[in-house]
Amino acid sequence: MKKMIWTGLIVLIFFIILAIFAPFISSYDYKTQDISLRLQPPSLKHIFGTDELGRDVFTRMLYGARVSLSVGLLAVIIATFIGVLYGAVSGYLGGVLDNIMMRIVDIILTIPVLFLILMLIVYLGPSIINIIIIIGLTSWTDIARIVRAEVLKIKNSAFIESAKLIGLPKRVIIFKYIILNTLGPILVYIVFGISGAILIESGLSFLGLGVQPPYPSWGNILMSGKDYIHTAWWLILFPGVAIFLTVFSLNLLGEGLRDLFNPKLKKE
């Protein structure tokens, strides 16, 4: 369990450092084209080779890490914010309001998420900001349900009763006592949410519906690479491995955290 958390964390931190220090790690620019150097296999000069426009793939992947990681993180922050607020209010207030709010969640959950995202992307246009907002707006329902369930559990516990008795305002009780006590499941959701968002972003970019050139993302490097699959394997291999490793380590971290917060498993 601890092994999972640490392995996940170390790989992630490694990727985050690469993304933050991209300009210091590579001396190339991500958008400078040089047709005379197009589709060069990996060499000492270009360790991951060059793409169809002669750009250094390693550099594009470093900057792509910035895009992919921040899209994942920001989208999940939006989703978490909406979901936690929604779930906490719905669970704490209860009654008719809770019923209506949960039926709305049911409705949104029935529309296939990918299709909802596709529609919004087509109509609002693909750009990094739009993708962040769209993924955020379409993925808050799970966390809303989780938080609501946790709130219902905590709401009737003794310490909340005493907080009410001493006359603390609802706002304080919701934010300070209830939400803080649901942080475990929220954290687990955030980690899995980021990995899901990264997968969606890369899939969209792979189809040309995501991050648009010249901005690099792991998905759109793959998109341009798929036309050269016979000649330039490095355009396919490296970005794919990067996506896989990131998602894999996020999922490891999420699994580890879930076990950590699950008291049932601790006893064993």
Partner: protein, 323 residues
């Protein structure tokens, strides 16, 4: 039980209504639209011709009237005609649904078959090397970007080894094959997409089965069976397995809705003529009737799948039925 089902069925109506309202709003309240996309590139377009086109498709009326008209037709199960080729939405969906169903059902069967075997065996050999490797391998499948795996496998098996076709549902010469060859042809086309889809879902099912199996084995009646000297094979494969597979039925029910909504990312890569592609083509071309039709049908089947899952669970587990 009957009351419960009737209540659930009645609840479908407002939910379905909400879904159509949300979808309709997204389509019509966002910038751009059918007329802009199809005419803005054409220099011969005049404001007059745009207005004519709008009135032809009923887009010049106020939004609420457009919506009410749609609802009225929907009650009679009429989804209208596609803007693109004028063919009925129902026929377009009926053409695409089989390919998606074929792929998803095959994948689901494979997924559950392998998932249950892996789950049960790793529950029996808990914390062994086997158990841990199964966890890691299935977890890798779960984390794999499916479109990337598809690309790699298409390249290896389709291009390098030339063993499998790389895209579509049928070969070009499909119509000239005899029945046996036709089946083999479709199976060959199915192999890669089914494998990749199933690989992604294996982690979930095998872990679910494993946990359920472990829970069952620790229960009193299993211990009692051991104590009275019942052969281990019978305990495990008859009593424990049967009981631990109960929750799996819920899982099966929950995956029913996923069967008809094909992933457009995946279907695009394999040029698979399914629902995902249809939805994608409709969205990109602002084909409103098709979008509304696909979303409503997908949502309806999702709701139905959830209901079926709940009912079947109640039928199988008497503890729920009598509550």
């Amino acid at each position: 039980m009957r009351n419960y089902i009737i209540k659930r069925l009645l609840l479908l109506v407002p939910i379905l209504f909400g879904i159509t309202l949300i979808t309709f709003s997204i389509i019509h309240l966002t910038p751009g639209g059918f007329t802009t996309v199809n005419l803005q590139m054409d220099i011969r377009t005049s404001p007059d011709s745009i207005a004519r086109l709008k009135s032809l498709y009923g887009l010049d009326e106020p939004l609420y009237i457009q919506y009410l008209k749609w609802l009225k037709r929907f009650i009679f199960f009429d989804f209208g005609n596609s803007f693109l080729d004028g063919r009925p939405v129902l026929i377009k969906v009926a053409e695409r649904l089989p390919a998606t169903l074929l792929l998803n059902i095959s994948a689901l069967i494979l997924e559950f078959f392998i998932g249950i075997i892996l789950g049960v065996t790793s529950a029996l050999k808990r914390n062994s090397f086997y158990d841990k490797s199964i966890t890691v391998i299935t977890f890798m499948g779960y984390s794999m970007p499916s479109f990337w795996l598809a690309l790699i496998l298409m390249f290896i098996f389709g291009v390098k080894l030339n063993l499998l076709p790389i895209s579509g549902l049928k070969s070009v010469n499909f119509d000239f094959l005899n029945t046996g060859e036709k089946i083999i042809d479709i199976l060959k086309h199915l192999l890669l997409p089914v494998f990749i889809t199933a690989f992604g879902g294996l982690a979930y099912i095998s872990r679910y089965v494993k946990n359920s199996m472990i829970e069952t084995i620790n229960q009193q009646f299993i211990k009692a069976s051991y104590a009275k000297g019942m052969p281990e094979n019978i305990i495990i494969y008859k009593h424990a397995l049967k009981n631990s597979l109960l929750p799996v039925i819920t899982l099966l029910g929950l995956s029913l809705p996923g069967l008809i909504g094909g992933s457009f990312i995946f279907e695009t890569i394999f040029a698979w003529p399914g629902m995902g592609r249809l939805a994608y083509e409709a969205a990109v071309n602002f084909d409103y009737p098709v979008i509304m039709g696909v979303v409503t049908m997908a949502a309806f089947l999702t709701l139905l799948g959830n209901l079926l899952a709940d009912i079947s669970y109640a039928l199988i587990d008497p503890r729920i039925r009598y509550k």
